[in-house]
Structures are given as structure tokens and as C-alpha cells.
Amino acid sequence: MRRSRSTRNAPHPPPESGEALRLVEVRKVYGDEGTRVTALAGVSLSLPHGTFTAVMGPSGSGKSTLLHCAAGLEEPDAGRVFVDGHELGGRSETALTRFRRAHIGFVFQQFNLLPTLTVTQNTTLPLKLAGRPIDHAAARAVLERVGLGQRLDHLPGQLSGGERQRVAIARALVTRPGVVLADEPTGALDSHSAREVLELLQETVRGYGRTVVMVTHDPVAAAYADVVVFLADGQLAGRMASPTARAVAERLTHLGDAAQQGIGG
């Protein structure tokens, strides 16, 4: 059985074409003896470049953990994670941050914009932190693309929830990452703002050629994706191409029942 530990000192393999994100037998367990909760029980997943995937499942199915492990925000207990063909395992916190900054864009449910920075400053912050030259014209273009051309000098506190999330998306795109990970990006938004954000995510795939992985519990949001991956009890529980909101909702209901029966039995 191959585990990440064994490859700690191996050189990172060259980028493999076609694959934006690959998870191999990823396990993550929380808590100590007695209060042990298995969030991911050996998940393997491979997502090609230029796709939009939604990850769905009942609460506690391990959706967010999956995303955090894929982004290097949490370290899996076992298994391997590849982003853009580079393995994440065995890197220091600083090395992970640098890698994340270059290859991964992350969008959070609670936005996580810095309150003291304007829209433009928030967007260009990852570049600034990476010491990369800031292309102000490009940043402005991204912000105009997300519909915030008139709000460049506003502070996050002066924006609506939908606008804040669009800033967060612009920030995630500005470094031209291979993969954009979104954790319940519409969870804190009204349906109108949610639709705008989802269309924007769709456009990052179609227009910019990025790969988007979105965790959501909303079937309507999942229907914007190309493929929906279902998760239950920390394991993959199916896959649906060309999803519709109705089909997703139906599958989800059965998943919830199955999970409950699993606990009961």
C-alpha cells in the first residue's frame, strides 16, 4: 500500500498533462480515541483540466475536508494529493503556502476578504505576497469581468454579500491558478447573487480554461457543474454527468437515507 510518507523525499513528478486534481486513497480522521470521526475513508478522484465539478453529500460526509485536503489547507492522514501534477505531501507549511499561491485559487463561504484592503488591493494581494509584478490593467480587467469595475476603491464593508464573493473570485483568478476550489461559495448569498456567482464560476471554466471544484449542498448550484460527485460517510457514492437540479436532489435524498440506514445498522 503506498502512502504519502514513503514519497516524502522523492522529487515532485513532472506535471502530467490533462489532470488538474488527483486524489489517491486520501484518508482523514479527526479526534482522539473514543471520539474518532472518519471524515475521509480513502477517497480517490481524478479531475481533468477545464472541468467544473460539484461535490455533494449530506452534512458530515467529508465534503469540506476533501476540499481542504485538495488545497493543502489540511494534511491527510494517508493517501496522496496531486495538483497540476505536483504532489502536495511532504511539504512544509511555507512551501505549501507558496505552492497554493501559485497553483490554487480558493473561494470561501465567508469570503475571507481583508477588511482593511480595498477591492483592488484584496484582488492583487496574492501577487503582492508572492512578490510577483502586479499587472494593474489585468487586475482591473478581471474585476470588470466580475462586474466590479465601478467598485475598485471600495472596502469590503461597503459591498453586498454577492459583490464580496465576486471580489473573492477575482482574487482567486488573478494568479491564473490551475485549479479553483470553492467551499459553499453561494452558502451565504441570496438566490439572485448566487446565480451571478455560479455563472461566474462557469465562465472561469469556459472562458479562462480553469478547473473548478465546488462543494455545495444546493442542487440548483450543483446543476451549473459539468459533473456532480457524491460523497457519503467519507466515501465516494456515485457520479452524475450533465446534472439537473431535480436529478441531483433526488439522488441526494437517497444518499441521506442510505447514510441513515448505515448508522442504524
Partner: protein
């Protein structure tokens, strides 16, 4: 609302430690000096001893009283401001302004009272040690028994509790006045902005500054003989320092305007973040600047004054009284400086721990731990420079008039050793507290740090 205050205290032990510590240490200081009055008032104490004890108690104790009230006020203000989110939430679920005021007031009173009660034995020990010192330097007859009574307890408990109540009242008024939606909005911004000085605060600061100058003038005109000029001059830096500290938000703005360019130029991404914070989080940084000013001002002022005193009596054999006064000066300064030093650590640790979420957000945006630490260090550097400049200015109302009184010359010999020593301690303490706390805070994984809780 009182119940809410008690629950809130029990749930947030860490958050209130700073206020408790300020109340406790302040009460110890005041009680120790207060006990000298009690000792002097006891029956059978000779008139001269009574005089010495009460002078010591009222003059030195009086000013430390002001200092303590100020310290308790500024710590409490910090802790309430840091809970803007909680206040906003309470407002949104229907708490009236009056209820919020009562909650803040209740918490403050509980903390102050607890701090003062715990301080009673410690104050007695310190007071006993002070009396022993006075006896060993022959200022007070050996036979005088130590007394710990109404003045020590009354002043100690009174100052701490009243100081806390006053501070709570002023802070709570500001919180309560805010509209619920605005409160939540600004809470989401985690206490940005602020630092606009109210008219009352400017007037109060001006009064303290004027008081400092007034004491300086009295010191200058008190003449070279005796210890009058020393008594006046010794308190001038405390008052002037408090006055400057009151204007801290203004000073932070000035310092960041002056230092933004070099910090930004040489600090890289960390410098960029540091400058933005200095501009937008004025109120928080001002709270941290206050103890630096007081520490440097009182430290440099008193030590330099003693150096002048030693110079003027050089050649002549110092009288026992001069020796005694010198020892006493060092001990008293030591206590007050130690107090401001602990307040400095206290404030910086409280303010930095609170930034957990902000640090987490920066790391999620791609900042490495080192970059966040770099930002904290640069902010600290700007604060320290501002504190050193203002602290040195605060020392002048002590040093210049005293020099004039003793030598007829306003400008004393420069004492680089004293200045550098004080500066070295201030820089070391500030940086150690900041970096140590930031490091510990950064140990929380970024994803956890930004989750709203706690």
C-alpha cells in the same frame, strides 16, 4: 443582564485576563502606598515620621493612582472594543442600549472588584517592604509598626473599581449608541478604523499636558535646596506622558505617515500589509502605543533626574538623606516602571491574540507565516519608534526644570546610557511580546483561525 455578564466572564477567561491583571497590579501599587498613610496615622508615631510617611503616600501614591486609573481604563477599552461582534449580535437579537451598558458595566465591576480583593495580601507585603526600606534608610524610626487599614483598602479598592466603572461607562456608551446594522457591519470589519478623537478626549489630554508643564514650572522655581523640586519634577513626566498617551491615535497617524515610505520600500509584502494596518487600525495600535510612551517617559525622566541630582552633589560627600532619597527614588521608579512594563506586555499580548482571524485570512490569501510575522514586526517597529520619540518628549518636563532648579541651566548633560538602556528594554519587551504572541497565534491552522467561533 448581570447574569449575562457573569456568564460572559466565565466563558472568556482569556479575554478578560488583561483587564483583571491591570486591576490587580494597580490595586497592589495603590494599596502599598496607601498603607504608608495608615502606618503614619497610627497612635504613638512621632510627628516627623508621620510627615515623611504621609508625603510619600500622597505625592508618589497620588500619581501612581492616576496612572493606575489610566491603565485600567485603557485595558478595559481595548477588551470591550475587541468584542464589537458580540455586542452587535446582542443588539440584533434585541438587547437594548441600556442592557448592553449594564452588561459592560457589570463585567468591569466584577473584574475590578476581584482584582482588588486578590490584591489585598500582595499590597500588604509590598507596603511592608516599602516601610522596611524607609526604616533601613533612617527616614522613619525603627519602632514604627506597620499598619494596613482604611486608606490602603479604601484607595486601592476605590481607585480600581471607580476607574473600571468610569472606563466601562465611556466605552459602553459608544457601543450602545451604534445602530445594530451598523454595529454588525463594522463588526464584520473586525474593528477597523476608529481612532477619531472626541472633543472630550482632546480637552482631557490637554489638561494632563498642562498639568505636566505646571509641575515642571513648579519644579524649576522650587530652588536648588531640599527635595521640593524633585517631588514636583518626578510627577511631571507621569502627567505629561498620560496627556500624550491620550492623543495616541493622532500620534499613530503621524508616525505611520512619516514611516510609511521606508516601511513599504524595505518591508516587501509584509511592509505593504503593515502600512495598510497602520492607516486603518489606528485605534488598536494606539492602545498599544500608550504603555510604550509611559514606560519610556517615566523611566528616562526619573533616572535622568536622579543622575542630575548625583552630579550636583558630586564632590561633596552625600548626606545620608540624599542616599536614602536616591534609594527611594529608584525603588519607587522601579515599581512604577515595572507596572507600565507589565501593562505594555499585557496590552500587546491581548491585542495580538485578538488578531487570530485576521492572520488566518492573510494566510488563506497566500501569506506565509514568515510574511505575517514580518508584518507584525514592522508594525511593532513603527509603534516603538513613535513611543520612543513621544516618551522622550514626556521625560522633558521632568528633566529640564529639574536641571534648571539644580544648575541654573535648562539643558542638562546628556545621559546616553540611561536613554539607551530604557530604549533597549522597551524595544526588547515590545518585540518579544509581539513576536511571541504572534507566533503562538499563528500555530492555529489558517482554516480554523477564520472560522467565526470564539
Amino acid at each position: 443582564m448581570f447574569m449575562l455578564a457573569v456568564r460572559s466572564l466565565r466563558r472568556r477567561v482569556a479575554a478578560f485576563t488583561a483587564t483583571f491583571l491591570a486591576a490587580f497590579l494597580g490595586a497592589v501599587l495603590v494599596m502599598a502606598f496607601g498603607s504608608l498613610s495608615d502606618t503614619g496615622a497610627a497612635e504613638g508615631v512621632a510627628e516627623t515620621d508621620r510627615q515623611t510617611l504621609s508625603t510619600m503616600s500622597t505625592v508618589v501614591g497620588g500619581w501612581s493612582l492616576v496612572l493606575v486609573a489610566f491603565a485600567v481604563t485603557s485595558t478595559l477599552t481595548l477588551s470591550v472594543r475587541q468584542r464589537a461582534t458580540e455586542m452587535a449580535l446582542l443588539k440584533c437579537v434585541g438587547a437594548t442600549p441600556a442592557q448592553l451598558r449594564r452588561m459592560v458595566l457589570g463585567e468591569a465591576l466584577l473584574l475590578a472588584l476581584a482584582g482588588a480583593l486578590v490584591a489585598i495580601p500582595a499590597g500588604a507585603l509590598t507596603g511592608r517592604a516599602l516601610l522596611a526600606l524607609l526604616k533601613s534608610t533612617d527616614q522613619v524610626a525603627d519602632g514604627v509598626p506597620f499598619a494596613y487599614g482604611p486608606v490602603a483598602l479604601g484607595a486601592g479598592i476605590g481607585v480600581t473599581v471607580l476607574g473600571a466603572a468610569g472606563a466601562a461607562f465611556l466605552t459602553a456608551r459608544r457601543v450602545a449608541r451604534m445602530r445594530a446594522v451598523a454595529a454588525l457591519g463594522s463588526a464584520a470589519d473586525a474593528g477597523t478604523g476608529g481612532g477619531r478623537l472626541g472633543k472630550g478626549r482632546i480637552i482631557l489630554s490637554a489638561l494632563f499636558l498642562a498639568g505636566g508643564v505646571q509641575l515642571g514650572v513648579m519644579a524649576a522655581t522650587a530652588g536648588p535646596e531640599g527635595f521640593d523640586s524633585m517631588q514636583f519634577a518626578g510627577s511631571a513626566d507621569i502627567l505629561f506622558g498620560i496627556g500624550l498617551a491620550g492623543l495616541a491615535p493622532m500620534l499613530v497617524r503621524g508616525a505611520s505617515a512619516a514611516l510609511a515610505r521606508p516601511v513599504r520600500r524595505f518591508g516587501g509584502a509584509s511592509g505593504y500589509l503593515a502600512v495598510l494596518n497602520l492607516r486603518q487600525r489606528t485605534a488598536q495600535l494606539a492602545a498599544a502605543l500608550t504603555p510604550v510612551i509611559l514606560f519610556v517617559g517615566i523611566g528616562v525622566g526619573t533616572l535622568w533626574m536622579q543622575a542630575i541630582q548625583n552630579d550636583t552633589s558630586a564632590g561633596a560627600v552625600p548626606t545620608t538623606q540624599e542616599d536614602a532619597i536616591e534609594t527611594l527614588n529608584f525603588v519607587v521608579t522601579g515599581m512604577i516602571v515595572l507596572f507600565t512594563c507589565i501593562m505594555l506586555i499585557n496590552t500587546l499580548v491581548a491585542a495580538t491574540t485578538y488578531r487570530r482571524r485576521e492572520f488566518g485570512q492573510q494566510r488563506l490569501a497566500g501569506a506565509t507565516r514568515r510574511q505575517v510575522l514580518g508584518m507584525v514586526v514592522l508594525e511593532g517597529a513603527v509603534l516603538t519608534v513613535a513611543g520612543l520619540v513621544c516618551g522622550t518628549i514626556a521625560a522633558l518636563p521632568t528633566v529640564l526644570p529639574f536641571s534648571y532648579a539644580k544648575t541654573d541651566d535648562w539643558l542638562p548633560d546628556p545621559e546616553y546610557g540611561i536613554w539607551l538602556g530604557t530604549v533597549a528594554v522597551a524595544v526588547t519587551v515590545t518585540m518579544a511580546a509581539l513576536v511571541g504572541t504572534a507566533r503562538r497565534t499563528l500555530r492555529t491552522p489558517a482554516v480554523e483561525a477564520v472560522s467565526v467561533a470564539s
